[in-house]
Amino acid sequence: MTIDVPTTGRALPQLQPISFIGPDGRPTDTPTEGLTIPSDRTLTGLYRQMVLVRRFEAQVTHLTRQGRLATYPSAAGQEACEVGATTALSPNDWLFPTYRDSAALLTRGVPVSEILAAFRGDWHCGFDPQEYHTSPAATPLATQTLHAAGFAMASKLKGRHAATLTFLGDGASSEGDTHEAFNFASVWQTPTVFVIQNNQYAISTPLREQSNATMLADRAAGYGMPGIRVDGNDVAAVFAAVSAALERGREGDGPTLIECLTYRMESHTNSDDPTKYRDAEEVEHWKQFDPIDRLETFLRDRGVLDDDRVAEIAAEAETLAASVREAMNTEAEVDPTELFAFVYGTERTSLSEQRAQLEAELAGAEA
């Protein structure tokens, strides 16, 4: 019996994360595996969007602390991942986000009030997925990775030139669905980009207790797909890597796994107490890797960003924050009988009976 020994086709990602712009805002000399830095114009747009989403996160977190929202998982500190990856999408591509990706929804053009509908308690998904080519945010971890793979499979079967992008965290990388999605996408060669936002913690559990792999991007090799690791706080690197991976997928070359190294500056949600599992020094340490500060320095040095433009963007962010406060001040009307409206295509007799029961209760309460 002879065994075929493969001679090609397996490669581990480079150990050093790909980055174009260092924490100090200076260009790096890191090998970038053929990726090229985005244009000044693109980078300026990414800067603006990161400033906007950071202000959004801060405002929503503040309102949550005031008790105005039931809960809120902030992606503060992860703006480069959220904005860089989402901006790389074409309009025909689809995004499959998680509950921590409000910044990505905002970047995708979903209105503030529709993003907040879920956290305000109005309805589980407040926006029209078809309109924004964005799936409802998944709360059960990693489940959306399979949806992204399946959607991309349909896209491939139908000959559409469209890819899918899904976010997951370092914690979700331990879920079985993540494994299955990597495998299905690679076996089927679907145009899917998996972006792991490795923010070092799954609620309180640190990465070292989540995985014994040298790095999460290494997993890609086991599924026969390319894996790369980027500095997740360098939006230039995230944008370049995701853009190339999406294009690779659209061209029929299958999925890509991208691990973005980043850090969750806020607690998991407002109901979490991060002092129990990480110290202030660590949070302070990560501040020097801030994604927005470094890009601002870089763009100022390039002469494409000045005080006026920075102030203009800051003012825009304040307007956005005001619209967030306004959205929270507007009490959304909820219709109790809508409970029954969207369970089945045709309302069942038994649901009609229960609807009548509720309507009678409501009428009784009014009388």
Binding site: A138, A152, F184, Y344
Partner: protein
């Protein structure tokens, strides 16, 4: 119904074929109809197995709608371990019918994405107990997508699950998992008991814009009826009176319809007029058909293979009692599997609800009331 459902005369407790089916279910070979001609018009009446009827339903759905795709474990080249998908890959190509990696959550989860993109996936869970890894995708996503998006995203997914026992199967090959699905809002759950319904219900399930759990009674795969395909039987949400009677109503579905008919046959010899209803649709429940029958007979028993406690029969008994209490002469009985894990082949005859056990249960009532 254009079917002679009395052609099946096998005794209720004898699996056909009587050999043990394992994960490879080689026994399915013996009964699979190899005629794979596409039926555009109604064929002449012929003897058709449930497997063949299901196969033809898939073939006709694939031919009719290019968005229909069929995938799952071993459904392509092999044609499924029960040969339900036999010949389909060859006929429609690997882009319509294909073998997926062996991961049930992956199969169900990718179906969500595919349906979002406009496809109508028909996926197979190879055996009932192997659907459990897909539980989260089915319950948290497939069942809820229409609701959480206010009807903006619908998932026309059909999940085929071979279920129940009486085939001499090894461990984990004989579960009746229906209650897990029927207790989940957003899912439609149907199960055929005969070849004609197998065809008609599967076509209607695939055409539905809502997700459907399509439960195929394994012990009935080889049941034959004389019928012409395509066939349209009662609508998907309706139960059907398959034998009329005046003394008691037996509520059965899937594999236990045969059990109920055998009990009715035997009961008749003792002067007991037994009506048998094939529920067909487990969710929604056809209150109208069932209540009309129970109000006439005043007595009812529900029969299923699954364990009793918290089972589907509990819902049926409660529901029918609530709606028909004043018409009832006796409490509604449940004749079911025992509250134990599904047993190994040599013990399953003691576990399964038999016609005899049904008749014994009916005797427990005070008939003087």
């Amino acid at each position: 119904m254009s079917v002679d459902s009395t052609t099946d005369t096998a005794p209720a407790d004898t699996p056909e074929p009587a050999t043990a089916a394992t994960a490879t279910a080689a026994t399915a070979d013996t009964a699979t109809d190899t005629d794979t001609a596409t039926t555009a018009t109604t064929a002449a009446p012929a003897s058709v197995t449930m497997t063949k009827a299901l196969n033809q339903a898939l073939r006709d759905a694939l031919a009719e709608d290019e968005n229909v795709v069929v995938y799952g474990e071993d459904v392509g080249r092999l044609g499924g371990v029960f040969r339900v998908t036999e010949g389909l890959r060859k006929e429609f190509g690997p882009e319509r019918v294909w073998d997926s990696p062996l991961a049930e959550s992956g199969i169900a989860g990718t179906a969500v994405g595919m349906a979002m993109a406009g496809m109508r996936p028909v996926i197979e869970m190879q055996f009932d107990a192997y659907a459990y890894p897909a539980f989260e995708q089915i319950v948290s996503h497939i069942a809820k997508m229409r609701n959480r998006t206010k009807g903006r995203v619908t998932l026309p997914i059909t999940i085929r699950i071979p279920y129940a026992g009486d085939i001499g199967g090894v461990e984990h090959h004989s579960d009746s998992s229906e209650a897990y699905w029927t207790s989940t809002p957003g899912l439609t759950v149907v199960t055929p008991s005969n070849p004609a319904d197998a065809y008609s219900l599967l076509r209607e399930s695939i055409a539905s814009d809502d997700p459907v759990i399509f439960m195929e009674p394994k012990s009935r795969y080889w049941m034959k009826d004389t019928l012409s395909l395509p066939v349209t039987t009662a609508p998907m949400n309706r139960a059907e009176v398959v034998r009329e009677g005046s003394d008691v109503t037996l509520l059965a579905y899937g594999p236990t319809v045969r059990t109920a008919l055998s009990a009715a046959e035997a009961g008749a010899e003792h002067g007991l007029s037994i009506e048998v209803i094939d529920l067909r649709s487990l969710s929604p429940f056809d209150d109208e058909t069932v209540s009309a029958s129970v109000r006439r007979t005043g007595r009812a028993a529900v029969i299923h293979e699954a364990a009793q406690f918290g089972g589907y029969g509990a819902e049926v008994a409660a529901r029918v009692t609530e709606r028909n209490f004043t018409y009832l002469a006796a409490p509604i009985l449940r004749v079911t599997g025992f509250d134990v894990p599904y047993p190994s082949p040599k013990l399953e005859e003691y576990y399964l609800p038999t016609a005899e056990r049904v008749l014994d249960a009916l005797e427990s009532w005070d008939w003087e009331l």
